[in-house]
């Protein structure tokens, strides 16, 4: 893998002049606060972009009664944080419904990592996202969105309940709060860095 490293150092010198964009996914069950989190930390108003589906959704969409309907539109939220000119972070809220998993594959390609938002009242909603990122070895942190009125659990309890791999960070957060959202992202980037270093060491040893 030595050649990859040298290539990377080469590319790295260039990055000062070329724009670099990094991608972070925000996943979790429906209504857990993905859009809110993206909106809280993004410097642009949360934009929505639509992906047109055709055959992929057809077999699973119940189109009874609307047989002529051959396309479905799925919206994705995204936001941007500019670190400096030429280096920005893009956040993508992943579509919650299971049938849009194929979109995740595209979204997760080349992603730096993911935030899995969890609601302790419906923890099971984030199981699929946790599974997805664990299987694909994409670094992720679990961010527990502390809804008012929900019983508060410690990070360790959540980690246990989700049966997370050792080391996967669990952060308690308030998705509406910018600083709280920033903290979640910082934890993720730190963790992604640690994962990457560990993998490099593995590949060497």
């Amino acid at each position: 893998m030595a050649y990859e490293r040298s290539e990377r150092t080469g590319a790295c010198d260039e990055t000062d002049s070329t724009a670099l964009a990094l991608k972070i996914l925000v996943a979790g069950g429906f209504g857990v606060g993905k859009t809110t989190l993206v909106g809280a930390v993004s410097e642009i108003r949360p934009l929505r972009t639509e992906e047109q589906l055709s055959r992929a959704g057809q077999s699973v969409d119940d189109t009874g009664g609307v047989d002529q309907k051959t396309t479905t539109t799925v919206a994705m939220d995204f936001g941007r944080i500019t670190i400096r000119s030429g280096l920005s972070l893009y956040l993508f809220g992943t579509p919650g419904q299971d049938r849009f998993w194929f979109l995740w594959d595209e979204l997760s390609q080349g992603a730096l990592g993911a935030v899995v938002l969890a609601d302790t009242r419906r923890l099971e909603d984030c199981f699929p996202a946790v599974d997805y990122f664990e299987h694909r070895k994409i670094p992720f942190v679990v961010a527990v969105n502390c809804f008012t009125g929900a019983r508060t659990y410690g990070a360790a309890d959540v980690s246990l309940a989700l049966d997370l791999d050792r080391g996967t960070p669990v952060v308690l957060c308030d998705a509406r709060d910018r600083d709280s959202g920033k903290e979640v992202l910082i934890r993720l980037v730190e963790y992604a860095g640690r994962m990457h270093t560990a993998r490099l060491l593995d590949s060497v040893g």
């Binding site: 290539e7 990094l22 934009l47 995204f78 893009y90 990457h196």
Partner: protein, 138 residues
Amino acid sequence: MNEDSTGDGPSAPGSQWYDAEAGPLVRPYAMTGGRTKPGPSNVRFDLIALVVVDDDPPGPADEALLGPEHRSLLTLCRAETQSVAELAADADLPVGVVRVLLGDLLESGFVRVSRPVPPAQLPDERILREVIDGLRAL
């Protein structure tokens, strides 16, 4: 005209579809001339691939030949370097359509597209450090 349709979803029997509810006047496949994939260059536009205006673009004569959607994308790119996802949202077009149109713009030399960082190269430690510090400073 929208007040007529408030409360009445488009599916309500006998209701009429007005304005935005009726969907785009020009269907997506018409904008792309029926194409679903970018042209022969076969570029895969990642959602966060950054699109910049080429330093040496074709003349105004060539630009006049572009379709309205091509031109609106070009205008957006001129204002600011943008990701494919942002372009789609700002131009209010499906990502699939934007990809095809960008393919045209790329082939005719109006724009350049950055390649996203391949996963194997992903987190360069120096850059990650910069991201973390940048986030803290926000």
